[in-house]
Symmetry: C2
Subunit: 154 residues, 2 copies
Amino acid sequence: MTQTTTSDGIRPGEVIAALPERTDARLVYIGRIRTPFRSRKECPRRGEPDGPLCTIEIDEPWRPALKGITPGTRLQVLYWMHLARRDLVQQNVEHKGALHGTFSLRSPVRPNPIASSVADVVSVAETSVTVRGLDCVDGTPLLDLKRESCAAHD
Amino acid sequence: MTQTTTSDGIRPGEVIAALPERTDARLVYIGRIRTPFRSRKECPRRGEPDGPLCTIEIDEPWRPALKGITPGTRLQVLYWMHLARRDLVQQNVEHKGALHGTFSLRSPVRPNPIASSVADVVSVAETSVTVRGLDCVDGTPLLDLKRESCAAHD
């Protein structure tokens, strides 16, 4: 753990961790998310229910897993924030000097950069689902879709 | 993609996929979840707000990331369902013959077995957080903690 005060994407006071060399589990990208946001700078701070249409493209062999998803379904979308660094444990998110623990934030910068968003299904095709509510950059790798539960505890 | 009708944890009609050899991203376990549930059979179907106390143990070097988490915080807990198979794309969840696409379910069996639960923080120590609301087996590997947002779209 090192206290830093310099650049390279690090803001004053932020705390970085030395990541272990080992890895413990492996992910397979199962598709890609197509959005109108071509860079992280263009992405909104959070997806909105009336946001732009985004298309979740599903790779073979996972397309049959779409069975049962229909317009109006709410989906939890898990994706990999492939552009994010992974070593910040405390972050200066508002550039104001106050440090926040990574676990108290939803920042993309985290030890395992898995994002979780909720999206409303607009239409379903054989190889893709079109939704509203996402805020990620075009081409983001997809990890999972799950039926979204209404219950908070699920 | 193969249609199966036999055993090995497969129920009638379920559809399995050939997983690709490649992997695309790697996860690091950042801790372990301690629960009273010693086997998958003992786990409740879903965690409840008044469920038993569970302790989320955080490994070095991620402990400073707990800063800002206090009793009453709601956390999204991401963990790795290390006991689940990954190749079912359609599942016969109720043993009744009706097939459901994996993406329309929250079953542990999925291409990337990442679980997402919401838990209420009861107490925080330097190396762990005690919560209610989890339903996973004792020893489950932790992937991430995030501040839970009240907004559905986040």
